[in-house]
Amino acid sequence: MSAHISTTRPSRGAYFRVAVVSTLAGVIKAFNSNKTSWVGLGVFALVCLLALLAPVIAPYDPIDQNILFRLKPPSAAHWFGTDYYGRDTLSRILWGARISLTIGLMAIGSAMVIGTLIGLIAGYFGGRTDIIVMQVMDVLLAFPSLILGLIVVAMLGPSVMNLVIAISLTAIPPFARIARAPTIVVKNREFVEAGHALGYSHSRLMFGHILPNIAPEVLVMGSLWLATAIRVEASLAFIGLGVNPPTATWGGMIREGFENILDSFWLALFPSLAILIVVFSLNLLGDGLRDAIDPRLKGEQ
């Protein structure tokens, strides 16, 4: 059977090679059309690198207490000062980046996979499946995401895994919406019809043919939602629903800094800047790419 069919179509490897090359070229073109995307990518990559290297480059242990050196302002020994327990703020920010990025990437990664799958199925099959699935998504979308996240974490208890679940739950409906719209457009194109005529299975058409075409839009939204996820994680930690102390989280650090805001402003200031830099870089990245792939804006340049 395989021998027969392989004469009528390019091999699996060939198909994917073509898809990847054209996508990669498209990606670079998209980046070049809006230079701020490169800035965003560069800054975000730097943050990821610093987070990866935290165990090596952090000057102190992030949870090591030194009561003699508590609430010290920034100095040569402690660039960003020390907190109420005498812990080094810079080291805690570096280690906190690992928590923010891990939770953000895992939450958005899983939301992207599940949401895209839902949107793909709803858009591809249409009809009643579409109506029911999207109605459920709309009900979920109607709900303020921070409130939903709050409740889920409060009920499950604050751990890395539960935060990932809570945040990805709130991000699934938007990904389903984002994936569904282009699926409906692409499924009516000739090459999908040709696939039907050749007797390709639904799953092969969905994953092999439609998915590569809708992937850019989903990935661009992924970078914008990663920014949101990092913001939500920090917000939950600020409310007191972050990963349990003494683990360093940016939101938790700002919460502790806020309690000493009258005499030690740096405690809240530096983690605030850290969140801002990461979220801003991701927004720059995603926003630039979205403009580049938005068909409505094409041809205007």
Partner: protein, 313 residues
């Protein structure tokens, strides 16, 4: 028109019912025993079961569910498991403070965001456009509590222009506004960032229309074209998106209320979460869903005011 409103109301009721069902089961299925949360883990089994009976947690789940739905309909949202007062009273007590904050920040967001967005679109790819785009992107990168903490540091602690802890009780109108100012600026500027971006892209789309080119060709002043021909058409997407941003606004108002120690739904929900006050949480969900559904309905109706061509079919 009537048919349209009825249809939207029908959808609103279905949404409300679905959310209530989800909330009821989430609150009960997830681990955590409210009786133990109230009495502490040292409490005896007898005391725990007595409290469960008092809270109505001893009857089967389906019975609790129907009692809950019936209660919501007649305005009986149960009593708080912690304070013992009716949930609806506690919510109505703080609701005006939250509404005041969100409406004030929505107005501020529109007053700043719409002109900046329009200006940015008109001066596309010029300096003002770049500044507005970067500033608005920066604005929506701020977690609401970060901007709140920074505002508090600068204006209340350094400059001492505003009180560090705001309270809505007592004082005259001036005092009241002074307490509202900083929280409303915090939420309003974030809203302005979102609104700027929608207003800009909506305006850009309208500026590309044929009738704009015609108007320019016949020599009409550009300022008049923008004001008379474009603004109204650009406002439809702005209104839609502002309706959708309500969720963001609500989430941000929770954080803002905590930082500025302002009474409101935000402080109420965080308190209820910490104490596992199930009935209070349910009540909060009901009120949030009601607000969201109501605003969506209002958004739909607003289209007709802006664009008389929309006939609500």
């Amino acid at each position: 028109m009537t048919a349209f409103i009825l249809k939207r109301l029908g959808f609103a009721v279905v949404t409300l019912f679905a959310v209530l069902t989800i909330v009821f089961f989430i609150v009960r299925v997830l681990p955590g025993d409210p009786a133990m949360a109230i009495l502490g883990d040292q409490a005896s089994e007898a005391a725990l079961s007595a409290l469960r009976v008092r809270l109505g947690l001893d009857v089967p789940l389906y019975q609790q569910y129907f009692e809950f739905l019936g209660g919501v309909l007649v305005g009986d949202w149960g009593v708080s498991m912690v304070s013992g007062r009716p949930v609806i009273d506690e919510i109505l007590k703080v609701l005006p403070a939250t509404l005041e904050l969100t409406i004030a920040s929505l107005i501020l967001g529109a007053v700043v965001g719409i002109p900046v967005g329009v200006w940015s679109a008109v001066r596309r790819n010029k300096l003002p456009d770049y500044v507005a785009r970067i500033a608005s992107l920066l604005g929506l990168s701020f977690p609401a509590f970060v901007s709140a903490v920074l505002l508090l540091m600068f204006f209340s602690i350094q400059l001492r222009w505003f009180p560090v802890i705001s309270s809505s009780q007592g004082g005259g109108l001036g005092e009241h506004l002074r307490n509202l100012a900083l929280p409303a600026i915090n939420l309003g500027l974030i809203m302005a960032a979102y609104i700027t971006r929608v207003a800009r892209s909506a305006m850009l789309e309208v500026l590309n229309q044929d009738y704009v080119r015609t108007a320019r060709a016949k020599g009409l002043a550009f300022a008049i074209i923008v004001r008379r021909h474009c603004l109204r058409n650009a406002m439809i997407p702005v209104v839609t998106v502002v309706g959708l941003y309500l969720g963001i606004l609500i989430g941000n108002s929770v954080l803002t209320e905590i930082v500025f120690n302002r009474p409101g739904l935000g402080k109420l929900i965080v308190g209820a979460l910490n104490q596992r006050d199930y009935t209070m949480l349910q009540g909060m969900m009901v009120i949030y869903t009601l607000i969201v559904v109501l605003v969506n309905l209002l958004t739909d109706l607003t289209y007709g005011l802006i664009d008389p061509r929309i006939k609500y079919s």
